[in-house]
Symmetry: C2
Subunit: 346 residues, 2 copies
Amino acid sequence: MCIVGIKVIQQGVGYLGKKAIELMLRKNIEVVAAIGHQSHIGEDIGKLAGLGEVGVKVTNDVQKVLENVKADVVSNCTGTTLLGVYEHIKPFIEAGINVVTMAEEFGYPWYRAPKLSKEIHTNAKANNVTVVGTGLNPGFSWDFIPIAYISACWRVDKIKARRVTDWSKTSPRRALLRFGKKPEEFRKGVVEGKIPLHTGFYECMHLLADSLNWKLDKIVVTWEMAVSKSFREAEFVTVQPGTTVGFKQVATGIVGGEARIVLELCPFVHPNLDEDGVESGETIWIEGEPSFTITTKWAPVEDGTPLCTVARLVNTLQSAIEAESGLLAVTDLPLTKTVRIREVVK
Amino acid sequence: MCIVGIKVIQQGVGYLGKKAIELMLRKNIEVVAAIGHQSHIGEDIGKLAGLGEVGVKVTNDVQKVLENVKADVVSNCTGTTLLGVYEHIKPFIEAGINVVTMAEEFGYPWYRAPKLSKEIHTNAKANNVTVVGTGLNPGFSWDFIPIAYISACWRVDKIKARRVTDWSKTSPRRALLRFGKKPEEFRKGVVEGKIPLHTGFYECMHLLADSLNWKLDKIVVTWEMAVSKSFREAEFVTVQPGTTVGFKQVATGIVGGEARIVLELCPFVHPNLDEDGVESGETIWIEGEPSFTITTKWAPVEDGTPLCTVARLVNTLQSAIEAESGLLAVTDLPLTKTVRIREVVK
């Protein structure tokens, strides 16, 4: 990705925010300010990211940042919800600074929150900035990538995607909450909202449906748990036989009673084809003219999912700066910008 | 893909041009004129595409078309070269009509023809139109798709892609030229330019390199033939043992002596893993952080490659209309346009 001479404000210095700073510094992107919460205030962002000191310190004073630095874009890692994150990014929008956020609900906010989406869009337009949500899911595996592929199709009848993630090394907090639980305990936890499952199905579903010009009658999201027959040991959790080793969430987009889009997420600890019926990786099945099957194997990488989410965020910054103003979807942005074109223009 | 109310001029009514007309009519895209050569003049484009009559007849009178119809975009299928196709599309550019072409050399013309690229760019800008080349290869498998994937990477070290195509049902003319030949006959044919191999490696290579901000020292393209051990029968050609059943072209993009981008094309008649070492399908290996492997299996489809090329062309029309003016690369265009956004804007 070509990122030259852009100035970024990092908003949010939690786990993902720190990773975003690390990636930007490694890519020689100028991080001119970082907004964080109490615990990190005054810390140097380079050190916070595990690199050398860079002379920029975390602050919680947005107003001061706006007065003292010039920036092209905000890299936002402060939450998930449209309303919550909009409150965080609003001062930047109104100061004329573009925003890229990894908040899931920004992936496709128009359906679930048309009124607020319109407000954000109007505000972004009025201030001549782009606001766009990106990430891995929504923002990549289940929308961006299949939409890239269907551009080679004459006709699409159905899209199915399955993403099986290995949680043996990832996110201790969530892993401990979800896995190694007695079935009744897991069920109760989910029902009571204490065990978080994946959100973001609706955003992917709507991005896909819109790209295909399909009007979905309904989206149904279900979950089921997987109970282990074997003992499995992971970095942050131990799974005894008879306890939860994974779960499966299925989102079905229905048109005229027919399941036209089916998205399956299967987080497992050491997923195992024989026992679990799934193995780590992603598959997309596109049925149409022609039909094709796309299988992606990721090399095992610690915290792969969050790292790729951060990459999507950072790699979208330049496109967001150059894009038309308004609240956009990631599919409205160009894949990248061809450097040579600019050289020709000069 | 969302294509609503656009008016298209089809330029070129050969095999691919006819397919483009067929796809546009099937998608209810309004084809307002078709420019063709002598043999099809006066024929109804619907009938030409194997569908019902639509009341638009093929003409070779570009001037008359420009005087009589209003169009948003030209769908160009008249050739491969930058210079040749530019001559064909120039009147449309100068009449203020956007152009999408499947000419391979438009995939990334800036490197091989910087002067002419600049001229086309300037002309397009002056007339406020977009000119863009698209297709499958260049335009999809080896540039668009891997560039989509690397947006989820922290770092990319190397990209390798292999595309193995089954020619058992495709393009009788080329199949007869290439396969079932004695080795010395094949070699002579290639050297003398009578047996056409694939062009388009340079365009893919440069699109990839630019997206990664890599400066390639050199691109080397080689070929080797594959001689069959077995008897293979295809729709348009019979391969005896000891004659050519396929070939392999390898393009290597070199940085500091290191092969950083390797693109392999392997057209075979009934490719067979045991004998040929390759099987039908596409694989992309991205080495970096993270590394991943993407395998695509296409359902067998008659003439799959040209059909997908046509789909890329038709599915790019709307983006080209909405894009900024100038000579663009396909990576400069958005993946698609999110319909909902427009509804919000209203």
